[in-house]
C-alpha cells in the first residue's frame, strides 16, 4: 500500500515537472519574441534620429542658422520660421486649451448620460481621425475665404485647434476620470457644488496629467504641415523685429492676420521647390524640428513629475 502511494506521487511529480518545464519554455519564448519586437521599434526610432542628426546637425549648429533670416546671403537661417512655429503654437494653445478644458469638464462632470452626450463623444473622436489635409482644406474654405481672414496665422491656428481639441479633450477627460472616487466623495459630503468640486478638488488633483497632456499635444501640433499649407501659407514672411508693436503691419511678428510659414511647412516647400543649397537647409531644419519635439516630450515628463511631487508633498 505504502509503496504504491509513493509510486503514485512520483508519477504526479514527474507530470508536474514536465508541466513546469513546458510553461517555463513558453515563458522564455514569449519574453524573447517581445524583446525582439521592442528592440526593432527602438532600432527604428534610433535609426531615424541618428540619420537626421548626421545629415543636419552640422547645419543646425552652424552659428547664425537659428538667428539669421531665410534671405541672408551668407548663411540662410530659419529665424522667421522658428518664430512663426512657436507663435502659431502659442496662439493654438490659447484657443484650444480653454475650449478643451471646458468640453472635458462638461463631458466628465455635467453631461447627462444620453444620446446627445454620446454623439458629442463620437464627434470628438471622429475629429481626431480626420486626415490633416482635409482639415486644411476646410480651414482654407471656412477661415480663409468665408470668414475673410485670408491666409493668416489665425486661420492656421484655428486649423491646428481642430486637431488639438480631440487630443486634449481625451487626455483631460482621462485625467479627470482618474481622480479617485474617494476625493469626489469628500467634496460632495462637504456639500460642495459640482462647480466647487471641479475647480478646487478635481482640477488640482488632475493637473499633473493635464499639463503633461497639453505639452505632448504641443509637440504634435508643432510638427504639423498639411493643415497649414492652405491656411497659414508657405511663403516665408519678412518680419521686422525692430518694430514689434505695429500690429497691422504685415512685417509685425505679433500680427495674427499675416501669413506665416512654420518649420514643417518650410521643409515641405524647400523639398518640393528645391533651389541651390536648399537640401542642406532642409536637413538643418529637420534637425531643429526634431530637437524641439524631443524637448517637448522631455518637458512634458519633467513638468508632470514636478507637479505631482508638489501635489503629494515636499
Amino acid at each position: 500500500m505504502a509503496s504504491e502511494k509513493i509510486v503514485a506521487s512520483q508519477g504526479r511529480s514527474a507530470e508536474l515537472d514536465a508541466h513546469v518545464r513546458r510553461i517555463d519554455s513558453q515563458d522564455k519564448v514569449a519574453t524573447g519574441v517581445l524583446t525582439v519586437i521592442v528592440g526593432l521599434v527602438m532600432l527604428l526610432v534610433v535609426a531615424i534620429i541618428v540619420y537626421i542628426l548626421a545629415r543636419g546637425a552640422g547645419r543646425a549648429l552652424a552659428p547664425g542658422f537659428l538667428t539669421n533670416p531665410y534671405n541672408n546671403e551668407e548663411l540662410p537661417g530659419i529665424l522667421y520660421q522658428l518664430w512663426d512655429s512657436f507663435y502659431m503654437l502659442i496662439v493654438t494653445l490659447v484657443i484650444s486649451v480653454p475650449i478643451s478644458l471646458g468640453a472635458a469638464i462638461f463631458l466628465v462632470e455635467y453631461a447627462p448620460d444620453n444620446w446627445v452626450t454620446s454623439a458629442a463623444k463620437t464627434a470628438i473622436e471622429t475629429l481626431s481621425s480626420l486626415p490633416s489635409i482635409v482639415v486644411g482644406m476646410f480651414g482654407s474654405l471656412f477661415f480663409v475665404v468665408t470668414l475673410g481672414w485670408g491666409i493668416s496665422i489665425l486661420a492656421g491656428a484655428c486649423a491646428l485647434t481642430m486637431f488639438n481639441i480631440p487630443i486634449l479633450v481625451r487626455t483631460i477627460q482621462q485625467a479627470l476620470e482618474d481622480v479617485p472616487r474617494s476625493q469626489r466623495d469628500a467634496a460632495l459630503a462637504m456639500g460642495l457644488t459640482r462647480w466647487e468640486t471641479t475647480i478646487n478638488v478635481l482640477l488640482p488633483a488632475a493637473m499633473p496629467a493635464i499639463v503633461t497632456g497639453i505639452v505632448l499635444s504641443a509637440g504634435r501640433v508643432f510638427g504639423e504641415a498639411a493643415a497649414l499649407i492652405f491656411t497659414a501659407g508657405s511663403a516665408p514672411a519678412r518680419l521686422n523685429f525692430a518694430n514689434p508693436f505695429n500690429f497691422m503691419s504685415p512685417t509685425c511678428p505679433f500680427n495674427i492676420f499675416r501669413p506665416a510659414c512654420s518649420l514643417a511647412v518650410y521643409i515641405w516647400r524647400l523639398t518640393s521647390e528645391p533651389t541651390a543649397g536648399s537640401t542642406e537647409i532642409v536637413w538643418g531644419t529637420a534637425t531643429v524640428l526634431l530637437a524641439c519635439v524631443l524637448l517637448f516630450n522631455l518637458l512634458a515628463r519633467l513638468l508632470g513629475k514636478l507637479l505631482s511631487r508638489r501635489l503629494t508633498a515636499e
Binding site: 474617494s182 469628500a186 459630503a189 462637504m190 456639500g191 460642495l192 488633483a205 508633498a313
Partner: protein, 262 residues
C-alpha cells in the same frame, strides 16, 4: 481594551438627534432598506453592524443624502434631524451640519491648512488669526496637531494613511457639524492608527452625535453607546451596546455575534 466597556453612557437620558420612521429605500427594483424605525441619540456614539450588503452603509449615507448621487434611488418614510425632514432641506446645507469620514482617507489635494479651512472659508471670511485658531483647535481635537504643526503648508497627501484619516476628521470638525458620520473609518488603517481613531470617536461623541458603520464587532463594543444590527436591509435589533452584545434577544443577532455567519 475590554475595559472600555465601562465607559458606555446611558442612552436613555440622551435626546434624539435623528429619528428614522418607516424608512424604505430602493435601488431600482432592489429594496436595500425595509421599514427602518430607529432613533439616534444626541451626543452619543451609535454603531451600525451587520454583514456586507445589509444596508448599514446605505442608511448612513442617507443621513447626509449622499444616496442622492446614486441614480434610480427611491425612498419612502421620513428621516428627521432636529425635527426637520432632511429630504425637505437643501442637501448642501444639510451636509454642513453632518460631517462625514470615509473608509479611505481622502484629503483634498491642498496643504494641511487649506484642507482644514476649506469648509469654514466657504461660509464666511476668515482672518489669518482666526484661521490659525481653527487649524490648531481642529487638529488638536483630531490628535494630529503635534505631528503636523511644523508643516501646515505641506500637502495633506504627503501624510501617512493614519494621519490622513485624522486630517479628514479635523477637516470634518472645522465646519462645526452636529453629527459625524463614519463609514468604516478604520478598515484601511494599521492597528495603532485604528486605536487612535477609536479613541477619537469616543472623545468626539461627548459633544457630537457620532454614527459609525463597522465590520469590526469589537470596535462597536469599544466605542459605541448604542448598537443597531442590520441584516438583509432590515433592522433586526437595536439597543444599548452592552445589552445587545451581552443579551441579544433575536436569534439572528445571536448567530451573527457568535460568528455563525458574516
Amino acid at each position: 481594551m475590554a475595559g472600555t466597556n465601562d465607559s458606555h453612557r446611558s442612552i436613555a437620558e440622551a435626546q434624539t438627534a435623528i429619528t428614522i420612521r418607516d424608512f424604505d429605500l430602493w435601488y431600482g427594483d432592489f429594496q436595500a432598506l425595509k421599514k427602518i424605525n430607529l432613533e439616534i441619540p444626541r451626543n452619543r456614539a451609535t454603531a451600525f453592524i451587520g454583514p456586507s450588503g445589509c444596508g448599514k452603509s446605505t442608511l448612513l449615507r442617507t443621513f447626509n443624502r449622499m444616496c442622492d448621487f446614486v441614480e434610480s434611488v427611491r425612498t419612502e418614510g421620513t428621516i428627521e434631524f432636529d425635527g426637520q425632514d432632511i429630504f425637505q432641506m437643501d442637501a448642501n446645507a444639510l451636509r454642513v451640519y453632518v460631517g462625514m469620514v470615509f473608509q479611505h482617507p481622502n484629503p483634498f489635494p491642498m496643504s494641511i491648512r487649506e484642507n482644514i479651512l476649506y469648509g469654514p472659508k466657504r461660509m464666511r471670511r476668515i482672518s489669518k488669526a482666526e484661521g490659525d485658531e481653527i487649524c490648531e483647535r481642529c487638529l488638536t481635537r483630531a490628535a494630529l496637531w503635534d505631528e503636523v504643526k511644523d508643516k501646515l503648508d505641506k500637502s495633506g497627501l504627503g501624510l501617512s494613511g493614519g494621519q490622513q484619516q485624522r486630517l479628514c476628521i479635523a477637516r470634518a470638525l472645522a465646519t462645526d457639524p452636529e453629527i459625524l458620520l463614519m463609514d468604516e473609518p478604520t478598515s484601511a488603517l494599521d492597528p495603532i492608527s485604528t486605536s487612535m481613531v477609536e479613541q477619537l470617536m469616543t472623545e468626539l461623541s461627548e459633544d457630537h452625535t457620532v454614527v459609525v458603520v463597522t465590520h469590526n464587532m469589537q470596535q462597536a463594543t469599544r466605542v459605541a453607546d448604542k448598537t443597531a444590527f442590520f441584516y438583509l436591509g432590515e433592522l433586526i435589533e437595536e439597543g444599548p451596546t452592552r445589552e445587545l452584545f451581552g443579551n441579544p434577544k433575536q436569534e439572528r443577532t445571536q448567530e451573527y455575534l457568535s460568528g455563525r455567519f458574516s
